[in-house]
């Protein structure tokens, strides 16, 4: 059954890696969102890479799910990078008028990983002092 499918979340060093390989229905998207946030809490990951390179379509629901997740993760001190969006998907999202505030994107996994490492370095060199 479709319902049994779960999207695996892999942790590598300080980052979580999620590769969405199926066309998600809404509940699955919501489940993935909470799954990732739980994983951030559990592992203390500082970044999340979400690979959507095989996603043939991102509609407003999935788009909002992704940007919502980025906001939530950022409150938990983790950055989200969306990786590998297909050109046709990007064109359609813009035409649809969906804005995805707070979303970082990268062309591929490697660039996304570099982005997260960069951010981690900056944070480590300028630690915010506790009041």
């Amino acid at each position: 059954m479709l319902e049994e499918k779960r999207i695996p979340i892999i942790k590598i060093r300080e980052f979580l890696i999620v590769s969405i390989q199926v066309d998600m229905h809404d509940k699955m998207a919501i489940q993935l969102q909470s799954q990732i946030l739980t994983e951030i809490e559990k592992t203390g990951a500082k970044g999340v890479l979400i690979d959507i390179s095989v996603l043939e379509m991102v509609d407003s629901f999935i788009g909002r799910m992704l940007s919502g997740m980025a906001s939530m993760a950022s409150i938990m001190d983790a950055a989200v990078v969306i990786v590998g969006m297909q050109p046709a998907v990007a064109i359609t999202l813009v035409e649809l008028g969906l804005e995805m505030p707070g979303i970082n994107t990268a062309l591929n996994m490697e660039k996304g990983m570099e982005m997260l490492e960069e951010r981690l370095k900056e944070n480590n060199s300028n630690p915010i002092k506790a009041i």
Partner: protein
């Protein structure tokens, strides 16, 4: 405007009752299949699949589902893939408002109709409060 499907010589490719989220996923796959088969480019395939997804989600969310029909035929001189959503839901009280860009409902999402309209070649809507809504979108092939 939006009469029954039988007033045209359109060929029905699919006629399906939409009840669950799984039906939406299934229909997205089917829409892409037909778009591909009719040799639409990858961007147009994505546009029409996304547009249908938006309409079916509205239907599922606001009207508890409804009927979805995929047809192929001629419309005003254009060969078209034609997608029709018919529900017996609450209807849209202020259609003009719903069709204006930037309109969002209390849940902060609106019906997404202006965006959907931008993704297709023809967009028609008919709605009556407490009766239902019919939306028909087309993509030239």
């Amino acid at each position: 405007m939006l009469n029954g499907a039988n007033d045209n010589n359109w060929e029905i490719l699919t006629k399906e009752q939409i009840e669950t989220e799984f039906d939406i996923v299934k229909m997205r796959g089917l829409v892409r299949h037909f778009a591909k088969e009719k040799k639409l480019g990858i961007v147009d395939q994505t546009r029409i699949t996304t547009a249908v997804s938006e309409l079916l989600r509205n239907m599922h969310q606001y009207a508890n589902g409804g009927l979805f029909i995929i047809e192929i035929g001629n419309y005003e001189g254009n060969n078209a893939l034609i997608f029709t959503c018919i529900d017996e839901g609450p209807g849209i009280p202020d259609l003009e408002l719903a069709m204006s860009d930037g309109y969002t409902s209390s849940e902060g999402m609106g019906y997404g109709l202006p965006g959907t309209k931008r993704l297709v070649d023809n967009f028609e809507i008919e709605t009556e409060v407490n009766k239902g809504t019919k939306v028909r979108i087309m993509k030239w092939i």
